[in-house]
């Protein structure tokens, strides 16, 4: 019997550009959002030039994040986040007939870390801490899906029922 039942080795190194891009046009004037691994160049640029926050149209909000504004809050699938009534104007502003949503304020509400490059107008929003830290109490190994050298995707959860020795290395 083989002593080591299964080993998954992750090699972290340079590779080809694999960022999925929802919008092919890299418009220098329109922000690009990287949200949960997907990069999206927005269709509309914010009219609030002096704001340090990222304002997006409701359509861009859905395109870039999957969230939609509903009467009960900002929702995606089964999860809805009510917007605080007293500070609703921090999240929503109307200019003319267009309603704008403050994605930076929403990220703060969800405790998402964010980073911005002003020169290229790139905005990155990280995972919610609850998603990041939940495994600390459950001890459930967080799932992930990555390609092998042929490009075939594999998930950690594919190996439920077997011991997994997860080892990370790098080409550097």
């Amino acid at each position: 019997m083989r002593l080591i039942q299964r080993i998954a080795m992750i090699g972290a190194g340079l590779g080809l550009l694999l960022w999925p891009v929802a919008s092919m046009a890299m418009d220098a004037q329109h922000p690009t959002i990287i949200y949960e691994g997907t990069a999206t160049t927005l269709d509309s640029a914010s009219p609030f030039a002096n704001s340090a926050d990222l304002w997006v149209t409701l359509a861009d909000l859905t395109r870039a994040t999957g969230f939609e504004l509903k009467p009960q809050g900002v929702c995606r699938k089964e999860a809805c986040y009510p917007l605080p009534k007293k500070t609703r104007s921090e999240f929503l502003a109307k200019q003319g007939s267009v309603e704008w949503f403050n994605l930076s304020a929403f990220a703060r509400l969800l405790h998402q870390a964010s980073a911005r490059d002003a020169q290229f107008d790139y905005w990155y929003f990280g995972p919610q801490p609850v998603a990041q830290n939940d495994f600390l109490s459950t001890l459930d190994a967080p799932d992930f899906t990555l390609p092998d050298a042929t490009g075939k995707m594999h998930s950690l959860s594919d190996y439920r029922g077997k011991k997994v020795l997860l080892i990370t290395w790098a080409s550097w």
Binding site: L3, I4, Q5, R6, I7, A8, M9, I10, G11, A12, G13, L14, G15, L16, L17, L18, W19, M26, I34, G37, A113, A115, R116, D117, Q119, F120, Y122, Y124, F125, G126, P127, P129, Q132, N133, F135, L136, S137, L139, D140, A141, P142, F144, L146, P147, D148, A149, G151, H154, L156, R160, K163, V164, L165, L166, I167, T168, W169, A170, S171, W172
Partner: protein, 196 residues
């Protein structure tokens, strides 16, 4: 794929080798160095936390790490499963698995943005974000080493390089020591005794 692929092809391992260009596992599991190992049991539970995971003699002259204890622990786990003395208790695991701090999450964000910019052809402009990730997570060697590799001149771009950073440790260990219980006397991995 370009850099990790040839190594995988040359090794032609029996185990599954995956490529994590975006450092997803680093960020999800809070890893800071390589090689790092995590043990996951058949129910998908973590039974040993991230720790240095040499399983052979490479770099022993540099690290001083004897791989035999960790390798024997793995073999014991394979033989004895959750009964292995090397499977960590839940209480101890929760003490060792630290929550992602705001600084660490910000470091992850800056590093991810920097990598995105690098792959978009803005490597020079990405340096500021790589530097910020290193400032926020100074113990994360993965973030340093990946950025240095992307640079054509780490001394110029970061004022340092990997060798200099290791020298700054000034005798402190590069890896946190592995917290293994002592092997039983005359130990070779044996199946746990069955309850009558």
């Amino acid at each position: 794929m370009r850099d990790a692929g040839p190594w995988i092809a040359k090794a032609n391992p029996e185990y599954l080798a995956l490529i994590d260009q975006e450092h997803i596992v680093t960020k999800t599991y809070g890893l800071v160095n390589v090689p790092t190992g995590v043990w996951i049991n058949e129910q998908g539970k973590i039974v040993r936390p991230p720790e240095v995971a040499y399983v052979d003699e490479r770099y022993r002259n540099l690290t001083g790490i004897d791989p035999k204890p960790y390798l024997n622990a793995i073999r014991d786990w394979v033989a004895n499963g959750d009964m292995s003395i090397y499977v960590m208790s839940e209480d101890k695991l929760r003490a060792k698995l630290t929550p992602a701090s705001p600084d660490r999450l910000m470091a992850d964000a800056e590093f991810t943005l920097a990598e995105y910019m690098y792959h978009q052809g803005h490597g020079q402009e990405a340096i500021a974000h790589f530097k910020e990730s290193q400032r926020l997570a100074p113990d994360n060697w993965n973030y340093k080493r990946q950025a240095y590799l992307f640079s054509t001149n780490p001394d110029r771009d970061y004022g340092t390089d990997f060798a200099k950073e290791v020298q700054k440790l000034n005798g402190k260990p590069y890896y946190a020591p592995v917290d293994l219980p002592p092997a039983p006397a005359g130990a070779n991995p044996q199946p746990a005794k069955q309850e009558p």
